[in-house]
C-alpha cells in the first residue's frame, strides 16, 4: 500500500499527514518484531523469567517442603514470602515485588534507552526517517513498543511465577494481607490486576528513557544514563531528609500494588502512582518530542 510510494524527502511531509492507521500499525508491528527479535531483549526476558524460579526453589529447599518459612527470616525477607509455602499464588506477588525495584526497570531502561539512540548508533535512524513516517509518529511508535515491552516483561515474570508456584507449592484460597479470605479465582484476578498496575508503574521510566535516548547518538550511553537515573532516584527515595521531594519520584509508589491485596482495596497510593506515571510520561514524552523533532539527525 502506501509503503510502496515513498516520494522523496521534501514531499514526505504531506504524505505523512494523511491519516493512515494501517500504516502506523505496520510500523508498530515491524518495531515490535525488531524489539522482541533482538537477542538482547530475549536475554532480558529470560533473566526476568528466572527470578521467580530462583525465589521458588530457594524457599522450597530452605523450608524442606514442610513447615512455614522460619520466623526469623520471615520478617526481614521480601514481601509476601511468608505465605508462599502455603499458597503458590503468592509467588506471583513475591516475584513482582522482588523484580519491580531493580530487574524490571533495568530491562525497561535498556529497551527505552536504546529506542532512538540505538537506531542513531547503528546508522539506521536516517533511513527510518526517509520513509514517510514522520518523526512524531516514529517517536510514538517507539514509545508504544517500549510500553508493550513493559507489559510483556511483567507478564513474563507473573506467568513464570505462577507456573513455578503451582509446581512447587499447593494452590488454594487466598488470605489477603488484611486477613480476609478470597477464592483462588478472585486471587488470580487480583494477580492480573497487580500485573497491570506493575506494568503501568514502568510507564514513567519508559518516557524518561525515551527522552534520554533522543539526546545522544550512543545507545550504550542512553541505556547507562537511564539505568543510572533509575538508581539515583531509588537512592533519593531512601534518604529520610529528602521526604519533601520523595512523593514526586517516579519510583516512590511502585510497591503500592500490594494495596490490591487488601480488603477492601486501598486505592489512594495506587492512584497516586498512576498519576505520577502519567505526569512523567507527559513531561518527558513531550520533551522527547521537542528534542527529536528539532534536532539534526546526522546518523
Amino acid at each position: 500500500m502506501s509503503r510502496a510510494e515513498p516520494t522523496g524527502r521534501a514531499p514526505a511531509a504531506p504524505a505523512a499527514r494523511a491519516p493512515r492507521p494501517w500504516w502506523t500499525l505496520g510500523l508498530l508491528r515491524s518495531e515490535l518484531a525488531l524489539t522482541f527479535g533482538r537477542a538482547r531483549t530475549l536475554a532480558l526476558l529470560g533473566v526476568l523469567a528466572a527470578v521467580p524460579v530462583l525465589i521458588g526453589v530457594a524457599v522450597k529447599t530452605e523450608t524442606g517442603g514442610g513447615g512455614g518459612v522460619s520466623d526469623a527470616g520471615a520478617a526481614h525477607g521480601p514481601a509476601f514470602l511468608t505465605q508462599l509455602t502455603n499458597n503458590g499464588l503468592f509467588l506471583v506477588f513475591a516475584a513482582l515485588a522482588a523484580t519491580l525495584p531493580v530487574f524490571l526497570p533495568m530491562a525497561v531502561g535498556v529497551v527505552a534507552g536504546d529506542a532512538i539512540a540505538g537506531e542513531a548508533h547503528g546508522g539506521t535512524l536516517r533511513y527510518l526517517l526517509v520513509a514517510p513516517a514522520g518523526r512524531t509518529r516514529l517517536l510514538l511508535v517507539k514509545y508504544a513498543a517500549t510500553m508493550v515491552f513493559c507489559l510483556v516483561a511483567t507478564a513474563v515474570v507473573a506467568v513464570s511465577a505462577l507456573v513455578v508456584g503451582a509446581l512447587l507449592f499447593p494452590l488454594g484460597d487466598v488470605t489477603t494481607i488484611s486477613g480476609t479470605r478470597i477464592s483462588f479465582g478472585d486471587g488470580l484476578i487480583r494477580a492480573l490486576l497487580i500485573a497491570l498496575v506493575v506494568a503501568a508503574s514502568l510507564i514513567g521510566l519508559a518516557a524518561l528513557g525515551l527522552f534520554v535516548s533522543t539526546l545522544t547518538n550512543s545507545g550504550i550511553a542512553a541505556m547507562a544514563a537511564t539505568v543510572g537515573l533509575l538508581i539515583t532516584v531509588q537512592i533519593l527515595d531512601t534518604v529520610p531528609q529528602l521526604h519533601a521531594i520523595q512523593p514526586y519520584l517516579f519510583s516512590h509508589y511502585w510497591l503500592s500494588f500490594a494495596d490490591l491485596l487488601r480488603a477492601p482495596f486501598y486505592w489512594d497510593d495506587i492512584v497516586k502512582n498512576l498519576e505520577i506515571q502519567a505526569l512523567y510520561a507527559a513531561v518527558f514524552g513531550s520533551a522527547a518530542w521537542a528534542r527529536f523533532t528539532t534536532r539534526d539527525i546526522t546518523a
Binding site: 524527502r9 511468608t82 499458597n87 518523526r135 486477613g179 479470605r181 500490594a258 477492601p264 486501598y266 528539532t294
Partner: protein, 443 residues
C-alpha cells in the same frame, strides 16, 4: 503538529527560525511540567485558603458537645491518618530499652502479632489506619504498612490480631480477657492496648471533654470539611499558662455528630503533637466478611492465655508502653488512672498545669500504673537497669539544679518529667519551666 522531516532545513534556513522552532517545541514539556507543579502547589493552598469551611447553622459549644454525646454511630468504615510527634527520642532507642527491660524480666516474647508491642509503633511518625465497625461487637482496626498490614479484628467473643508481614496471629476470647472490659472497641488484652491508645476520634474527644472544667475554654471555632463531610470545629484551650498543650481541636460531623478529626497542638508551636483524622469515612454497614478471620494455613498462632503466662508481670509494662500513645496524656490530663491505687502521689497545681509528685516508687509495676513514661519507669528500675539502657537514659535527660537539689529533666513535647537525685519524680503535661517551678514550690 505535522512534523517537518527535512533534516537539512535547519542548516539552510539559518539559525533564528530554527531557534524559534526549538523554543516553541520545548515550551510544551516546560508547560506540562509547569501546570503539574502549579497543580501540586496550588490545589492544597487553595483548599487551605478556602479554609472558612462550609456554611453551617450556628451552634453553641454546649450543643455541639451534646451532639457528640448523643451521637449513635454504630456502623462506619473508613481510613484514618494518624501523625504523632511526641518529641520522644527515636523509637528504635526506646525499642531497645523496652527490649532490654523485657529480656531482663524474662518475658521476651517472639510474637510480632502481639498487640501491645505493635500498637506502640503508632506513638511516633505517620500511619494510615483503616477502621470498620458494625454495632457493639464487631470492630476492626488495621494498620496499613508497606506490603503488609496489621489487623485487630473483633467479632463477638473472638479477638484476633493478624500480622501479615510475619504471618503470625494472636488469638483471644472474651473469657480469656478477664476483667479488662472496654467501653467500646475490642476487649481483651489486645483490646486493652487499643483502648489505651484511643485511636478513634470519638474516644479521644470523650476523654478531652471529661478533662474540661473551669480551667478550660471550650468554643466552636468555625467549620471545616473533613473526608468530604461538613464538620464543626470544637476548640478546647487551657486557660492556664505553663501547659504543654496549646489547644485541642475536634472536627465533628455536622450530620451525625461523629468526631472526624482530632488535633492536639503544642503550646510551643510547631507541628501538632497528635493529629488523627479520617481521610475517608462511610457510615454504611461494612461488609460482614470484613470481620471474619480464619488464620491461613501455616500461620503461627499465639493464644492469649499462653501469652499471658509468658508475660506475667510484663503485661503491665506493656500497657504503659501502649500508654506512650495518646492514652497517656489523656489519662494525665483528666484523671490519673492509676492514682488511686498508690498512696505516694501528690499533686501540685490543678487542671492543665497539674504536676504529679511521685516519691521514690520502689515497686516497678506501680510506677508503670501511674502512667509515668519511659523516664518514670526507667527511674524505678535503676537498680537492675541494663547498662545500655542506663546509658541511654543518661543521654536522654539534662541536668538541672534548684531548691529540690539536683536532678535530671526528661523532656518530650507533651509530658516532662523531673527525677531528682533524692528519688522524687515530678511529672506533668507542663513546660520545663513550669515543672521546675512546681518542684521548687514543693520543697
Amino acid at each position: 503538529m505535522a512534523p517537518n522531516d527535512n533534516t537539512r532545513i535547519t542548516e539552510t534556513e539559518g539559525e533564528p527560525s530554527a531557534f524559534r522552532r526549538k523554543a516553541t517545541r520545548y515550551a510544551l514539556p516546560v508547560a506540562v511540567a509547569g501546570v503539574a507543579a502549579a497543580t501540586i502547589g496550588l490545589v492544597p493552598a487553595l483548599a487551605a485558603a478556602g479554609g472558612s469551611g462550609p456554611q453551617l447553622a450556628d451552634i453553641s459549644a454546649q450543643q455541639l458537645i451534646e451532639k457528640i454525646a448523643a451521637s449513635d454511630t454504630q456502623q462506619l468504615s473508613g481510613s484514618l491518618k494518624i501523625t504523632t510527634d511526641l518529641g520522644l527520642p527515636a523509637l528504635s532507642g526506646l525499642d531497645s530499652v523496652a527490649g532490654a527491660l523485657g529480656d531482663s524480666a524474662g518475658a521476651g516474647d517472639g510474637s510480632t502479632a502481639d498487640p501491645g508491642t505493635k500498637l506502640m509503633e503508632l506513638a511516633s511518625g505517620s500511619h494510615t489506619l483503616r477502621v470498620a465497625a458494625d454495632g457493639a461487637d464487631k470492630q476492626r482496626l488495621s494498620i496499613v504498612e508497606g506490603a503488609a498490614e496489621y489487623s485487630l479484628i473483633r467479632n463477638g467473643d473472638e479477638v484476633w490480631a493478624y500480622d501479615s508481614g510475619s504471618n503470625q496471629a494472636y488469638h483471644a476470647t472474651e473469657k480469656d480477657a478477664g476483667g479488662h472490659g472496654g467501653s467500646e472497641g475490642t476487649k481483651g488484652e489486645g483490646a486493652q492496648g487499643a483502648k489505651d491508645l484511643d485511636v478513634t476520634p470519638s474516644e479521644l474527644a470523650a476523654q478531652v471533654l471529661k478533662a474540661a472544667g473551669d480551667t478550660t475554654s471550650v468554643t466552636v471555632d468555625g467549620t471545616a470539611r473533613v473526608a468530604g463531610h461538613d464538620a464543626y470545629r470544637l476548640l478546647v484551650k487551657p486557660k492556664q499558662s505553663g501547659s504543654t498543650v496549646g489547644s485541642v481541636t475536634i472536627a465533628v460531623d455536622a450530620k451525625t455528630g461523629t468526631p472526624l478529626k482530632f488535633t492536639l497542638a503544642s503550646s510551643g508551636g510547631g507541628k501538632p503533637i497528635v493529629d488523627v483524622g479520617f481521610t475517608k469515612v462511610d457510615f454504611a454497614k461494612p461488609d460482614a466478611s470484613t470481620f471474619d478471620f480464619t488464620p491461613p494455613k501455616g500461620t503461627k498462632v499465639t493464644r492469649a492465655d499462653e501469652s499471658d503466662a509468658a508475660h506475667g508481670k510484663d503485661a503491665k509494662n506493656e500497657a504503659s508502653g501502649a500508654d506512650q500513645g495518646e492514652g497517656r496524656f489523656g489519662g494525665l490530663l483528666g484523671e490519673l488512672s492509676g492514682a488511686d491505687d498508690s498512696g505516694d502521689v501528690k499533686t501540685i497545681g490543678k487542671g492543665w498545669s497539674t504536676v504529679y509528685e511521685l516519691t521514690s516508687p520502689k515497686d516497678e509495676s506501680g510506677a508503670a500504673g501511674k502512667g509515668s513514661e519511659a523516664a518514670g519507669s526507667g527511674a524505678s528500675k535503676q537498680d537492675d537497669l541494663p547498662a545500655e539502657a542506663e546509658g541511654l537514659i543518661g543521654s536522654l535527660g539534662s541536668k538541672v539544679t534548684g531548691k529540690f537539689g539536683s536532678g535530671m529533666v526528661f523532656e518530650t513535647r507533651i509530658v516532662n518529667a523531673l527525677m531528682t537525685d533524692d528519688g522524687k519524680v515530678y511529672v506533668g503535661a507542663v513546660t520545663k519551666d513550669a515543672l521546675l517551678k512546681a518542684a521548687n514550690q514543693a520543697n
